[in-house]
């Protein structure tokens, strides 16, 4: 009797039209963006740290380091800025959602699994776009950094997509840590990585060992790309882009494996 009943039930399983699947993706993205834009404890530090640092060190104090300093530090602080939405928007939120049971509920619901990741990714890219737009405005209107339109566009595009390796790293961190301690732990990775990649002090004034170690960090490669976008010669672009792509894929695969195993 059971077998007959079960097959009858199968045939009745409703089909989900493609337009409704797409709508699920859009709703998930919309909710994720709204949710974080309404959370000042996430949004304010993410927007303020790079901009305030840039105003202090890049504009007010920067001139004393030479005329190029505001342009150089525009690249560095934009790199520093766009690391945060990926690491915190993905890493911390995943850690909290695993802890709070939201991820479990979503896994039980018929949410398209990719919608969860794409929603967070879109949110991180949106916040990154805000950060670069703010920094660019400060650079152009306050510091009068000479930049042409194509340079601005390049920096914007590089930072927009430069979020992705940090989303992937955040995702991996989010599968490793759990709960309320997550923001602190992510900072323990974020801040040293920014320092060691030469985002706060130029690598040239750092010890030789740290200089040689810098290519280990994804932020170093993103910063090279950002610097080249605003007109500094950092050699060929594609090796850095390739390394970043490799980091992204590597972190994603590790995170996916952990999520499959431990949920």
């Amino acid at each position: 009797m059971n077998a007959v009943d079960l097959s009858a039930a199968t045939n009745e399983s409703p089909r989900m039209p493609a337009s409704r699947v797409l709508n699920a993706y859009l709703q998930e993205t919309r909710s994720e963006c709204l949710r974080y834009l309404r959370t000042p404890s996430f949004l304010l530090p993410t927007l303020l740290f790079p901009t305030v640092f840039y105003v202090m060190f890049g504009i007010l104090l920067g001139r004393s380091n030479g005329a190029d300093a505001p342009r150089f530090l525009l690249a560095s602080y934009s790199t520093f800025g766009v690391m945060a939405p990926g690491l915190f928007g993905f890493g911390v939120s995943l850690a909290l959602e695993r802890d709070g049971g939201l991820l479990m509920l979503k896994r039980a619901l018929p949410m398209p699994p990719a919608a969860y990741l794409l929603g967070k990714m879109a949110m991180a890219m949106l916040v990154a776009a805000l950060i670069v737009a703010l920094l660019l405005s400060l650079a152009i209107f306050v510091a009068h950094v000479p930049l042409d339109a194509s340079q601005m566009l390049r920096l914007f595009a590089i930072d927009l997509f430069g979020v992705l390796p940090f989303c992937a790293l955040g995702l991996l961190l989010g599968t490793l840590i759990k709960g309320q301690g997550a923001p602190g732990l992510v900072n323990l990775i974020y801040l040293p990585m920014a320092f060691l990649s030469g985002l706060w002090f130029p690598l040239s004034i750092m010890p030789k060992l740290l200089q040689q170690l810098a290519p280990v960090w994804p932020s170093y490669h993103l910063n090279r790309l950002a610097l080249s976008a605003v007109g500094f010669d950092t050699g060929p672009v594609w090796p850095h882009a390739l390394v970043l792509a490799a980091f992204t894929v590597g972190f994603l695969l590790l995170a996916a494996r952990r999520l499959r195993r431990y949920g």
């Binding site: 989900m16 699920a24 909710s31 949710r35 909290l96 479990m104 619901l109």
Partner: protein, 308 residues
């Protein structure tokens, strides 16, 4: 069971272990449309594991799980279900209406926002941020999320925790409505009155097994205990020592006892306290049935342990 009640989901001889602990030990369970199944059992009995298997959150070690004829890990299977978990922290900054709309977007033909809101009694909360709601209001919103996709099978895990009496009554009405529509509901609850009020079928679990299954009346009939309540000067400690009394406590100024020899108990009560008043004798409720069933299971397990 009559033949037209369709099996929507089932566990067949399902087992699941965590390390050395057998969380589920060869369980057979069938969930049908138009029926509310209450899954009861002490903590650690295997309820959560059984639900987790049916939702596709975990995989069986042995046996089979079927949800609408498919593997529950397939999203197509889960488009037929609605879920309310015991502890899920929803995004605090999203408004209630936004949460319902988001969850409804996962389903092929969901209810309208106003229909979901009305069924769950959250129509007046739609514009409020979730984080600003009281615990009971949050539970109602979670119930709205469970039913908004027009699911044919609902999983409700402790749905009425934190609700006041009025909200609980409304919840029960809504659940009955969903069952009357022909949907299946799986309810886990610690409130035995809730199971008693709603369930067509009750499954009692202990130590990873189903130890009893049947209607509420069938379950009650298996238990010889009856309830006695009265206003008396006797105290709990005294009556607890009487052989006729299996359990005793004070409740709202009344002495409350359960007994399997109720006639003898009443005779003795009246003899000892001539001023006794407000005497009531009731057949056992699900609570007594549950206590006795799970105690029997524990004793059996203890005996097996000694024998081994």
């Amino acid at each position: 069971m009559s033949g037209n009640e369709r099996v929507l989901a089932s566990l067949q001889n399902a087992s699941k272990s965590y390390g050395k602990i057998k969380a589920l030990d060869g369980v057979d369970l069938a969930l049908r449309g138009g029926e509310l199944l209450a899954l009861l059992g002490p903590n650690g009995a295997g309820k959560t594991t059984a639900i987790g298997l049916l939702l596709g959150l975990i995989r069986v070690d042995a046996g089979a799980v079927s949800l609408f004829g498919q593997d529950p890990q397939r999203i197509q299977a889960r488009r037929n279900i609605g879920v309310m978990l015991q502890d899920a922290t929803l995004p605090a900054t999203l408004r209630v209406g936004e949460l319902i709309r988001l969850t409804a977007s996962y389903y092929p033909s969901p209810r309208t926002l106003s229909e979901s809101a009305e069924l769950a009694g959250v129509g007046d909360l739609l514009d409020r941020p979730y984080g600003k709601l009281s615990g009971g209001q949050q539970r109602r919103v979670q119930f709205a999320l469970a039913l908004c996709g027009r699911p044919r099978l609902l999983f409700l895990d402790e749905p009425s925790v934190g609700m006041d009496i009025q909200a609980r009554q409304k919840l029960w009405t809504a659940i009955r409505h969903l069952v009357a529509e022909g949907n299946g509901v799986v309810l886990t609850t610690h409130y035995l009155e809730e199971a008693e009020a709603l369930a067509n079928r009750v499954c009692v679990m202990a130590r990873g097994k189903i130890i009893s299954e049947g209607s509420v009346d069938e379950l009650r009939a298996r238990v010889s205990l009856k309830r006695v309540r009265c206003a008396t000067r006797l105290d709990v400690a005294t009556v607890r020592d009487w052989p006729e009394v299996t359990e005793a406590r004070m409740d709202g100024g009344r002495l409350w006892m359960s007994s399997d020899r109720v006639e003898a108990l009443v005779r003795r009560l009246l003899a000892v306290d001539a001023d006794l008043s407000s005497l009531e004798v009731q057949a056992a409720g699900l609570a007594e049935a549950f206590t006795e069933l799970t105690r029997d299971a524990d004793e059996t397990a203890a005996e097996q342990l000694e024998a081994a």
